[in-house]
Symmetry: C2
Subunit: 380 residues, 2 copies
């Protein structure tokens, strides 16, 4: 037990929450029941007013902090930010992290069994929206006895969920921490997603999404999708700093084997992803990204959308992020200001690109710490 | 005949040049003979001192200007720039445009017949470098009786060939016009190329490059590669301006059919490319891009490399180009200045991205026109 660092939440065990209420989805279909796998860190206070929800991004899951076993070498994906004394301080807050509906880490999704057929859902699993996730997360909050989150926090696609919370369920969120996000993705972002999807959909081993029944996975397509994602998570400068354009050998090989370090990195990242992620979930996640557009039902005016909100906002962007650039975060801030909302904005000097929202950059963590330190635990 | 615009070179007919000299390649192999398909516009003067070579980019070919038939609706790929009275003025210059070795529009390449086997070369065709192309183009110049080009002109990968000419054959080029290029591609660029290659190589219908014998083409992979290329040719802003994030229908379809205009555009571009381009050529072109690094044999010092050069330089970059950004062109300019070379630099205000080097932007064409107007027809 003493093996874990002192500022770690230590050993964590996920649990499965069965949500028996029907969930009506934006696509028009209804899930009569669904399950969400969660982890929690810290202790819920008597008034249930100190809860923070962590919303994950495209490939994230419930395992945000701590270690899954005594011998686990790698902690959760946001362990540098969540723990005793860390920016999201588990001495003070009760932190809830979930695998979203549609995910592939135990929550109901395309790779789980459809009770109606006894087979994996596969392509029959409904496409989801960020609104659907907020609805599902609200049912989760009900089940946990949390009427109002002290804060909802998320980066990238997670930040979109945070914004949607403030608009759809304004009384249930006191603080919204929106990191490296955008009010909606750009045509270029959609284009990248579309290529990733086509890579998966056109893989002969995708079998129309029913690859589970064929004992194969569409590994070529999923690998390409992940490799492409990686380019957009890193800045050009970061790639240059990390790999330069170093040849692995002294001279070119004049064949299609790995020649440059960056190729080796990408192939490795792609393969590692294939081993842990589900292709149908990847498709669902990219579509949710494409669909996200909270201004749409408010006459395409984001500030009108944010007039629904009651939360206080912290918006964080990173200088080197070209996937969701600071300009996109400023659009969010501008709309919040127009809507008369209470908003703080931090632009963090960074090198790595979009992935910096996962990094323990001191300036970034100070911003989060000082914002969270001012959060009252009183319900509003 | 009167159907063509007055400033067009009109009807053009490609011709095949057989080059019987052996060509030693950087990979160590030698081609005993090769053929290049070319078009020429304008008239070579008696001293053969008014010739301009056009070097094409990744997916280009010899058909740069004019019309291939009386009923041809679309002129060559750079028709807006080449013709009587146009920036590359065929009233004054004799313009040579070729399909590079390794191409797929008639020049010797992977889809042509290997005399040794009587079958298409396929994967047995050697990987090429920009230096190899310069060697091949020099043999072409010999055959055409051109000792020294008045100018060599190219954008993107074409610009790299221009730079290599100045370093490898300094006495044979008086002016170098390097457009939207880079001294070597970045790790991010290599990463994009690698994903494009993996898309093709992993397509089951690639058959190790011998798809010709199977009566199929690796269309899925080639389509993905082209879609990905397109994202990098256009700026985020251009994509936004062109497609916004408009849904094709009033509401989302919640399936994987085309939903956004940008998806429709990309799929169309991908399919059109599959119908006209060869997958092995695409692989060869991307590798040549990756390998290009003229500073490498000069102690990684580009200015030392450029000390070989005798040409005058015009370097042109475009503000909205993120594939080969203005910063990369400034690296070229800086090295040329350090090397004591005569260099002009123009940064063109643009919106579209990398593709702007093909567009008739007035500022851009004025820069080309005025530079070319000052070119003397005298050999040096």
């Amino acid at each position: 037990m003493g093996a874990f660092p002192a500022d770690s939440v230590g050993l964590v065990t996920p649990r499965k929450i069965v949500i028996d209420q029907a969930l009506a989805l934006d696509c028009g279909r209804t899930l009569p029941q669904h399950e969400l796998v969660i982890e929690t860190y810290g202790t819920l206070n008597a008034k249930a007013s100190n809860a923070i929800l962590i919303c994950h991004a495209l490939s994230g899951d419930h395992h945000a902090a701590g270690y899954s076993s005594e011998t686990d070498k790698k902690p959760g994906w946001w362990d540098n930010c969540i723990g005793p004394g860390k920016p999201i301080d588990t001495n003070r807050f009760f932190v809830v992290s979930l695998n979203n509906l549609g995910g592939c880490r135990g929550s109901t999704g395309p790779s789980t069994i459809n009770a109606e057929t006894g087979e994996p859902w596969g392509p029959d699993f409904p496409l989801l929206t960020v609104r659907d996730w907020v609805r599902s997360q609200a049912l989760l909050a009900d089940q946990l006895g949390i009427r109002q989150w002290a804060a909802v926090v998320g980066g990238s696609l997670g930040g979109m969920q945070v914004m949607q919370w403030t608009i759809d369920l304004p009384d249930r969120i006191r603080n919204a921490i929106v990191i490296a996000a955008a009010p909606k993705i750009s045509a270029q972002n959609i284009a990248f997603n579309e290529i990733a999807r086509q890579a998966i959909l056109s893989d002969p081993e995708f079998h129309g999404g029913r690859f589970y029944n064929h004992d194969v996975i569409p590994s070529r397509g999923l690998k390409l999708a992940r490799m492409l994602g990686h380019i957009t998570y890193l800045s050009d400068a970061a790639m240059r700093a990390k790999f330069g354009r170093e040849l692995k050998a002294a001279t070119p090989s004049f064949n299609y084997d790995v020649e440059f370090e960056v190729e080796s990195y990408l192939r490795h990242q792609g393969q590692a992803f294939v081993d842990r992620f589900d292709a149908n979930t990847y498709l669902i996640m990219t579509k949710a990204l494409d669909y996200f557009d909270p201004a749409r039902e408010f006459g395409d005016d984001l500030s009108t959308a944010f007039r629904q909100a009651k939360a206080k906002f912290l918006v964080v962007a990173f200088t080197s992020d070209w996937r969701f650039s600071p300009a996109r975060s400023r659009e969010i801030v501008k709309s919040l200001v127009s809507a008369g909302r209470d908003v703080s904005y931090a632009l963090i000097d960074s090198q790595l690109g979009h992935d910096d929202f996962l990094m323990p950059l001191p300036q970034y963590h100070r911003v989060l710490s000082s914002y969270l330190a001012r959060i009252t635990e009183e319900e509003t």
